[in-house]
Amino acid sequence: MPLYIRKGIIALLFSAICSLVYAQHTGCTLTVNGRVTDSDTGLPLSGVTVQVNPGELQAISDAHGYFHFSHLCSGTSYQVTASSVGFESAAMQLTPQSDTRLNIALQHGTIKLHDVEVVGHGRSVITANPVKALSRESIAEARGGNLAEYLGVLPGVSMLQTGSTISKPVINGMHSNRILVLNNGIRQEGQQWGSEHAPEIDPFIAKDFEVIKGAEGVRYGADAIGGVIIASPPPLPVDPHLSGEIHTLYQTNGRMGVVSGMLQSAIKQIKGLSWRLQGTVKRGGNIQTADYYLGNTGVGEANVSAALQYSKGRTSLEAYYSRFQTSLGILTSAHIGSMEDIEARLEAGRPFENYPFSYAIAAPRQAVVHDLGKLKWHRDHVNGSSLDIQYGIQRNHRQEYDLRRGDRDALPMLDMVLTTQTLDASYRMAQRKGWQSQFGTNLSLQVNNNVPGTLNTPLIPNYDSFSTGLFAIQRFIRERYELEAGVRYDFKTFDAAGYDSDLEFYGGYRQFHNVSGTLGGVLKMGNGWQLHSNIGLAWRSPNANELYSNGLHHGAALYEIGDPNLLSERSFKWITTPSYAGEHFSFSLDLYAQYINHYIYAQPSAGEYIQSIRGTFPVFRYGQTNATFLGADLSAQYRFPLGLSYQLDASVIRARDVEQDTYLPYIPSDRLDHYIRWEIPVHGQFTNSYIKLGHRVVRRQTRYEPGTDYAPPPPAYQLLSAYGGTRVNVGKHTLDLTLSVTNLLNSSYKEYMNRFRYFSHDMGRNTSLKLAYFF
């Protein structure tokens, strides 16, 4: 290309960007910050709905009564209304000329509900780290999938898959024990060390899905190295009127059907008491790639949850219970016995067997039951501070079945019960002259027991582990900026005991100490620009499998050996996010650099093989190194006239073992998703109608170490997808219809982050129709 043409194109691009940015400075960039208080007591009111029209903007006041609007237009006359149960709605006119503060005092309604506290506490976490939340539309489109599939649409979040039935979320290249999942406020504790152990969460329970990519080790303790996933149910109702929702969906691939329902109400006779019941049933059969069925990839799920809350005055007590129960098949063709088997399958590139469609689930399979109980006590004080005490108990029963000798397919190879109890207390002080403090403590007791009788050496030993942590976070909040600093101390014990395959006793007692810290800030530059920056020091101690595993990894044809002397990983993650939100254009760019000291991963042990009567297997040993992760996640959106908009999400990550100067395995390759969306201008009963076309481009992972994997990463691929949805308003009830088609062209492809890419392709076209009825 001649130089002048190139220069011309660059100049054109620059002028386009400049004019784009200039366009944002004209008009609609004002913000309104405000607070809602009780006119009688002067106390802040949380959960108050504040609406701004025109623009149909809506915000809910947070725990301290604060709310925030941005992108308001200078000189426009807005109607602001604030409403909450038990209070008279307040309405006022607002014509902002500059960024404005607005304080609203609500008067008690004529129906005297003086004791009804408004429940709901704004965003579930306050942090200087940028928080990415799933939009309602993304949630509706993801319904029926698992947690990782929900979150996979966020830039920087991808999936680690084991076939088509098991996926785990990956945040900036970190997964399993390096990220934390908060399930209704409780740290989810399953056997998450396993790459084939998906989080045991029914996404239908949650209304909000948030991802924090920064290291949140101070607030949440060990393991929050790569980020935190927060799945939160909506607040319980205060209105004694039965409400609920019913979801049904059908997807063609796997012929999967899902029904999920929820009912909730407050009890009229007992003031302050409200309840919710929820349940989901899912059944799916063999998944189809572009060309063939994947044998034994059915899934069955039955989940229930119940919540009860009693509030009196400024105190509330919540009890919650959920059960997640799944049975999922593992691709039969992935059951291999030796390196020769893998090599034969690699050469074929697809399974040798041809299976028909079936709902039957046979070995190899997993059956997991996860029970979670929670008791939470919350108290708001008159001075605006609040205290939370929360107890959680989880019991995770995991059974894994394999093809076994004799009639033992029905006997699990692996049968483990992990019980985790947590006690968390945190005290958040009211904001005073911009200063806000939070203190807390977390206690955790975890016990893992292997259920005897598997006739197989357990993969990990029995253990008990106690951990305790203390933290303090200080925030300084100004209109234009916020600063945050935190410090934490953790102490953990780990006591393991087991017998290996030679029936020799192994195990021992370990102690871990750690101090973590965080320093961050938010700069609100005005005109829609913001800058988040945070540096976090987090840690995690080695897992049971990293310390003690000693056995054949079926499905990978390798022998994994742990190291009982491994040290804790320590991570430093710096994440900086410039963002801009204007009337037409918005973007957010996460730039991060992470250094992990004593990074643990399994590497092939050169020349070491284990000879068994079934054949010879290469040995992988867990070791430690120092690793760096550098990356960027971009999310940008442009809103055109006539309801058209364009969305672009992209992420790149570069990870290295800096000690050996090699690449790390299983790091997501560069990817880009972009969408063009049209909001259909239909009126009457129909609202929120849209169609959307998506395109995903995933590059081949070229940064890998040959010789450490059976096969090089698969080629690049592209996928098209289409979505459409509408909302039908039937009186006070609504019906949402969402139609989605993923892999529209039924492309045959393999994803590097799918551990079964040796054996098969990824999922072919999938059409799903989702109905959601809210009443």
Binding site: G337, L403, Q421, V447, R614
Partner: protein, 202 residues
């Protein structure tokens, strides 16, 4: 109200403390690994005639394998060209009990493959009861003498539905890996087919 609050706090703390005090791991129980075959033996018995009757006075050749599937150092077998041998597998479980019947009981999911012989040297016929075509018992016919080679006897645990795609002619299919499954046994030793009359004399 104040009392209520106290009660709740005490109840919460008590519950937490109780939970934390009441839990520690169980003593582990040694789990005798019963999944692996613990040893094996291949026996070659010379037979003759239409009914494959045992030839009297000829010592059977026995090759034993330990729990790692290894034969003793130097183990080898000399089979004579033109002769037929009944090859039987004896496999042992963790308690050294014979367990080869397990393969026959689950005949739809098991098959033996015999690899390593040069082309045209060996012929093999499955001879399990009820035409099970597993290979716990079979007849090896030595077609001609050849150089020594590593005789590889594999018991394949097949995935569901795979056996239907295998025929008796696949007994020495070097691409047996494409019959989905895993190996229960992978046994190797040195075999030397020799001219008739040069039997097992060294």
């Amino acid at each position: 109200m104040k009392n209520n609050r106290k009660t709740i706090v005490i109840a919460l703390l008590a519950l937490g403390t109780l939970g934390i005090n009441a839990c520690s791991k169980d003593d582990p129980q040694p789990e005798i690994p019963q999944e692996e075959v613990n040893g094996a033996k291949l026996t070659f018995v010379e037979v003759a005639g239409e009914n494959n009757e045992v030839v009297a006075g000829v010592e059977p050749i026995e090759i034993t394998f330990d729990d790692k599937g290894l034969a003793p150092v130097g183990a080898h077998a000399h089979l004579e060209a033109g002769k037929t041998y009944r090859l039987t597998l004896t496999a042992y479980d963790f308690a050294s009990r014979e367990m080869q019947q397990e393969f026959l009981n689950d005949a739809d999911r098991h098959q033996v493959f015999i690899l390593g012989a040069p082309e045209g040297v060996l012929d093999y016929v499955y001879a399990d009861p009820d035409n099970a075509r597993v290979g716990v018992t079979g007849y090896i016919h030595v077609l001609k003498p050849s150089d020594g080679f590593t005789f590889n006897y594999i018991v394949r645990h097949l995935n569901e539905g795979v056996k239907a795609s295998i025929t008796a002619a696949d007994w020495n299919n070097p691409g047996y890996n494409q019959f989905g499954g895993a190996n229960d046994l992978d046994l190797k030793f040195e075999m030397h087919p020799v001219e008739a009359g040069h039997g097992d004399d060294h």
